[in-house]
């Protein structure tokens, strides 16, 4: 999709678990793999740390998509964290639907530390998908966002 002549560049937030996905991303880099620059990574210790509020806030602050990536089921460094992430993501997708936000804008992936290639592929694929979906226009609630931002500042 084209916006003012330039190719539309979706903004993606990636929450990557420290042990698998973040290392995987690192590997992708070490292995000189090409992946879209649209993904902006936030490292967390475990995908289980990802509070659904982070995802919503990311959307509120202008992200067009959010990627949550963790270890493969059974390989979680914290045994079960990724299953919590899975359940939250499944639930969150249902919620997004009701808010009229395409659930594909939230993506949960299992990327192990050795899957640098997969990381690159997911990133590129997701970027293309979001490009096809176009920019996310949330219900205009500037005050809400402002309030949220203030709180962050206040803490």
């Amino acid at each position: 999709m084209e916006t003012n002549g330039k190719r539309y560049q979706p903004r993606i937030i990636g929450f990557l678990c420290n042990w698998c996905s973040y290392t995987g991303a690192d590997l992708a880099g070490v292995s000189r793999m090409k992946s879209a620059p649209n993904l902006r990574i936030i490292r967390v210790m475990c995908s289980g740390r990802v509070d659904p509020a982070f995802v919503l806030r990311a959307f509120r602050l202008g992200a067009d998509g959010v990627l949550v990536a963790g270890c493969h089921p059974g390989d979680c460094h914290y045994k079960q964290g990724n299953f919590k992430a899975l359940r939250r993501a499944m639930f969150l997708k249902r919620l997004l639907r009701e808010f009229g936000v395409d659930e594909r804008r939230l993506r949960l992936e299992w990327i192990s530390a050795s899957e640098g290639e997969r990381f690159a592929q997911v990133t590129n694929e997701f970027t293309e998908q979001l490009r096809a979906l176009g920019p996310l226009q949330l219900a205009a609630q500037p005050e809400a966002a402002a309030a949220a931002v203030q709180e962050v500042a206040a803490q």
Binding site: I42, V44, G48, A58, G62, H77, K79, V152
Partner: protein, 589 residues
């Protein structure tokens, strides 16, 4: 127990009551032949070859020595005319039925018998015919205790059989019957024999054996699967013969729990099963060997004493060594097993050293990367080993008759000359790939190790931390982490050991400051977090009605932080505030 005195061939002797005449006579040098008699078995008196003359006041009688107990004042003759006549007739009758059985021939000759006068309706020409001594049936019952065989019918029609002539369930394939049979009528036939040295097939062929000639510790062991005792509870003959009394059948496997602070995982590798590549004929063609089998064959203490032999015992004229079997192969393992090139060259070298066979190495790339390896490579070249650069397409049987001496053809493309070639060989050696052990997955789960796509255990960082894992106190070394040769394995495990010792000597463990903390005044005691902690670090303080995080147990995953519905749990290191600030930042532009 009272003693009995009697005379044998005029020699007076004393024996314990109940001793058979045979047992009493043999020590005195009396020559009493016997067929059905065996010292381990109860006397049976079936063959009647052991007849002797017993003189008494009322004249004499002929008795079988094996099952007639001695009696006070007996006067026994073992080679009187009566005895010899009677024995000759017995043997004559047996020979009439089994003319070619060697032991009967010998005894007959001894008894001065030439060709028998009789014929037999059941004449059996077989030199290994069953002479119905029934030692086998009795040993199976009396010693082995398996009772796997018996006999049917009587007189002329008697036969030794398994129940209902079916393969006997009770048979434990101990082979005792074969060894006790005087004519070699019973044979032990191992299944699925593929012309390999027995040790690759049957495992130990005796119940007590030495694992390998160079076993460490160098002590024999009992194979419970083969040992009669573990099957029948009987036998234990070994205990009688072992003077130091070193044998303990009652010993059992036991699990020993050891509490440790750190673990070094060195569970090694598994071998690629070459039969998966059917076109190379492993398991199908007689003289196609896997690398480890050749290791044994080339071993001075191996089954062939280190000689290079084909199945039928000839020295091969030409040998093909195929590299990268299962390695560097899209269909099997994409990685290089790293050790094959060098051991393949070693084989070539040893074969050259011990035979005049031509040696062909079929390789994709020759990887002689280590210290001194390249030199070894050129040396092997100088020894006249042929190398063909190309992946072998298939190995086919070229010879069909015995006279063709089992020649095979190796078909491949020689990429250096760009030609398709067929090379005849007598023996093929396959260099199987190294692959993760079958148990690797279990081990990984047990220790919470990650595995790379190829299935080997994952180190913390491929460059910066190749011996540690993502779990503190857990290290990996050797081929369980990836294919490597001995020097590399030694180096890696030494490194790991050093790391472990460093922590031990420090005596304290540093844990990350990343951790969850519950604020008591903020916690409502809703207990949502309680079941979430994988380390059981969250406890509920009943008296205060709030939950509490044990800082020592908490690993800081933050799952509880994200879950706390009233935001009462602070995630130090990755707090909501920090992450929100990150979000603000990266989404600001």
């Amino acid at each position: 127990m009272e003693m009995i005195s009697l005379k044998i061939d005029g020699k007076p002797t004393q024996v314990q009551d109940g001793t058979s005449i045979l047992a009493a006579a043999r020590p005195l040098g009396a020559r009493i032949p016997a067929l059905c008699y065996h010292p381990l078995l109860k006397p049976f008196g079936a063959c009647r070859v052991c007849v002797v003359e017993s003189r008494g006041t009322a004249g004499f009688e002929l008795v079988t020595a094996c099952n007639t107990p001695c009696a006070e004042g007996m006067d026994i003759l073992t080679d009187s005319p009566h005895v010899l006549a009677a024995r000759r007739v017995v043997l004559e009758l047996m020979r009439a039925r089994w003319p070619n059985v060697s032991i009967l021939k010998e005894l007959a000759a001894e008894a001065g018998l030439t060709t028998p006068r009789f014929g037999s309706p059941k004449k059996d020409e077989n030199p290994e015919a069953c002479i119905l001594c029934l030692r086998c049936v009795r040993v199976c019952e009396e010693v082995v205790g398996a009772c796997a065989i018996g006999y049917e019918d009587r007189g002329m029609r008697r036969r030794v059989v398994t129940p209902f002539d079916q393969p006997s369930e009770a048979c434990i394939a101990c082979g005792t019957c074969t060894s006790i049979c005087p004519t070699g009528h019973i044979k032990l036939v191992p299944e699925d024999y593929r012309g390999k040295p027995a040790e690759f097939l049957l495992g130990p062929n005796t119940a007590i054996y030495m694992p390998t000639p160079q076993a460490v510790p160098k002590v024999p062991r009992i194979d419970a699967d083969t040992c009669i005792h573990f099957k029948t509870g009987g036998c234990q003959a070994c205990i009688d013969v072992c003077e130091p009394g070193a044998i303990r059948h009652e010993m059992e496997d036991e699990e020993i729990e050891v509490e440790v602070g750190q673990v070094l995982v060195t569970t090694g590798f598994g071998l690629f099963d070459a039969s998966a590549m059917a076109s190379y004929g492993y398991g199908r063609l007689d003289n196609v060997y896997a690398a480890l089998e050749i290791e044994r064959m080339l071993n001075a203490t191996g089954p062939t004493g280190g000689r290079v032999l084909t199945k039928d015992g000839r020295t091969p004229r030409a040998i093909g060594i195929i590299h990268c079997v299962g390695s560097r192969d899209e269909n099997h393992h994409r990685y290089c097993s790293r050790v094959c090139c060098m051991y393949a060259l070693k084989f070539a070298h040893l074969v050259k050293e011990r035979s005049h066979a031509e040696v062909y190495n079929f390789y994709i790339d020759m990887r002689a990367f280590g210290k001194g390896y390249e030199e070894f490579y050129s040396r092997v070249m100088d020894e006249g080993v042929h190398v063909v650069r190309g992946k072998v397409a298939e190995v086919v049987q070229a010879a069909w008759t015995g006279r063709e001496n089992g020649t095979m053809l190796i078909r491949c493309e020689d990429t250096l000359i760009g030609r398709f070639r067929e090379i005849p060989v007598d023996m093929v050696i396959l260099c199987n790939a190294l692959q993760p052990d079958d148990q690797a997955r279990k081990v990984a789960r047990l220790f919470g190790l990650s595995r790379s796509p190829d299935g080997f255990f994952l180190e913390r960082h491929p460059k910066l931390d190749p011996v540690a894992t993502t779990t503190d106190g857990l290290f990996v070394a050797g081929c369980c982490q990836g294919p490597k040769d001995i020097p590399d394995s030694v180096a890696q495990s030494s490194a790991a050991a050093a790391r472990i010792l460093a922590t031990i000597s420090k005596g304290a463990v540093e844990i990350e400051p990343i951790r969850a903390e519950i604020s008591e005044e903020d916690c409502s005691g809703c207990r949502t977090c309680n079941p979430l902690c994988p380390y059981y670090a969250i406890e509920f303080l009943a008296e205060k009605q709030v939950s509490h995080v044990n800082a020592a147990l908490c690993k800081g995953c933050g799952t509880c932080v994200a879950a706390c519905p009233s935001g009462a749990i602070a995630g130090h290191g990755f707090s909501d505030r920090q992450i929100n600030a990150e979000l603000e930042g990266i989404l600001a532009v």
